[in-house]
Symmetry: C2
Subunit: 395 residues, 2 copies
Amino acid sequence: MPQTKFGEINIPSRLLTSTGPVNVHPRVYKAMMTPVIGYGEAPFLPVIDGISSMLSEVFKTKESLCMALSATGSAGVEAGMISLLEEGDTAIIGSYGFFCQRMAEMARRQGATVIEVKGEWGKALPPEAISEELKKHRSVKLIGMVHAETSTGIKQPLDQIAKLAIEHDALFVVDAVTSLSGSNIEVDNWGIDYISSGSQKCLSVPPGLAPCAVSPKAMAAIKSRNQPPRSWYLDLELISNYWGKDHVYHHTVPMSMLYALYEGLRLVLEEGMEERIARHERNAAALRAGLEALGLRVISDENHRLPQITPVEIPVGIDEAAVRGILTDEYKTEISRGLGEFAGKIWRIGLMGETSNAGNVMFLLNALERILPKQGYEVPLGAAAAAASKTLSTA
Amino acid sequence: MPQTKFGEINIPSRLLTSTGPVNVHPRVYKAMMTPVIGYGEAPFLPVIDGISSMLSEVFKTKESLCMALSATGSAGVEAGMISLLEEGDTAIIGSYGFFCQRMAEMARRQGATVIEVKGEWGKALPPEAISEELKKHRSVKLIGMVHAETSTGIKQPLDQIAKLAIEHDALFVVDAVTSLSGSNIEVDNWGIDYISSGSQKCLSVPPGLAPCAVSPKAMAAIKSRNQPPRSWYLDLELISNYWGKDHVYHHTVPMSMLYALYEGLRLVLEEGMEERIARHERNAAALRAGLEALGLRVISDENHRLPQITPVEIPVGIDEAAVRGILTDEYKTEISRGLGEFAGKIWRIGLMGETSNAGNVMFLLNALERILPKQGYEVPLGAAAAAASKTLSTA
């Protein structure tokens, strides 16, 4: 065989207790080996219809059209902004973390007037802050909120803000990249008009797709725009023509990723949404108990903690990158650094999808118990495991 | 194991002599089983750098930054339009097929004045048509052309139009979705400022990525915009911060697809670009000879024929969908229908990447020889195989 200077891919197997991507079930990898086939062929369409149906169950919606956009999670958020906003519109975006700021940036690029309602990083935004802002405007097209703020580990309550959106005839748009299938989401009951996620978080599928749900009200808003959306590729109306029952060609969809998502969603429904959410809560609680037993502080407001992401304050004097380096090199384990305001101040530990299991919690706590003393931070030996174990046994 | 109502994926193995996706090499499928890992981790970055380097060889450029965008081929074309055009700009787009029209639509959505220079479907556009149009405008920001028009089977010559772009200080933008690695492309020599492709055509990787190359002049144009591009996700400057040497986080890239592209590009370089292009030409010539021996007419202008896509006129009285149906059902083989002006008038037979081999040509010709008489179209038995075989042996 002729050789080139580019060698074979060589990637280690790691425990991905990071903010994502997370570990992938073998059945999902296996599904990706399914041969590609034409995007409009009869044997392929059950994959599209199955994903749409299974997403309806995961998003808890009968009203909205569920699709998986052919791009990563951030494109899902942007598809909402691009499709729903145009020049002259006013948008209110809750701002309490890095991904809130990104959503606001995406909205601004549409030429809309964007008001960022600023909250504190590490806390949820009180609905009153949105309510106060709404009083200042005659017409607001859209209220955008991040459900699971990955940069701060905060789960933002949505139901009251959804009610405000209905009262003010605004569209309610949600970034659920990190929350979908790890936290409860009720699209129909809460009244969410557009919500999007990523395949690589709690769904435990490789990154590359953005599952989303578009309400009839959102679709009507797109159809009544003055100008078409600035992107043809992320135009939710055009995309819906393929995902709807007529399956009209828009672009060649990424079949291998769709096979993966189909299998990932089967795994979600086999486990059951309630049990899956409970599992995420249980393992995160054990992790927190263990971290606190190590003397570490979890900085997210305890009333609004995400089970997916646990943000841990870096103890004074500790070289945060060195600890992450030892974890990857010696323990083949990833955790994430802080972003934005929290860069250099916190680690972010993820427990999502396949990664969220009790063994991983115990392994990671033990690794930290062994690494931190070598960095000059003394810890009580065995205490973390005891605390985590007790939490798991009583949950 | 708990069961859901959603069954296991069940996709037949087919010969994909269609317009794409095409058949995938087992090494590419195997690469997709490589475990996912953090997008910024040291073991992963050689995948990014390797793809960028290998794409430089395939695009024949030392000047341009090569990347693979995290979306399908059409998003690659749109990323060029979104990043390079803004309100007040004028763009000239060659229009001689379905994908030309799509490029123009993407350009219009940026608020630019878009002039479509119309040519005839099934023929290349004479450079004079662009030259004439250029004379009418004081300033043209961009000239956009489709290199391989998949809807008509035409390979558009680019070198003279590239010279016109340089003379008029316009950016030269090329859609090479169907041509990359199946036809010669010389980004530096011709002077292409932005070019993009898709993973699922001649590169023979599943769909989901858009390889592209951005010249320093194009990047400078993006950096000197008055307003940021309307899309954050498809903003080539932001994306280049990750693909450049600093690997700054933009979005979570789809590692499984990138593993596939890395392996697909290794296969391209192992074969060698010249031999790969010759293989595409050889097999397409054999297919054409065989089709003509069946009495069928290839409608693309013989001076500008694509080897990737052979457009065949449907004989009078033949039910075109019925023939495609028999091919898929009985022969497990896909060919494509016509698009746009050519809908219902032609079939499009693709020979790209792994699909372009002599055995597939002979198999498909024999299948047509068996199917067409049953549809009332008599053919001389054995003539197609003889003609194709002779062409292969003398090529």
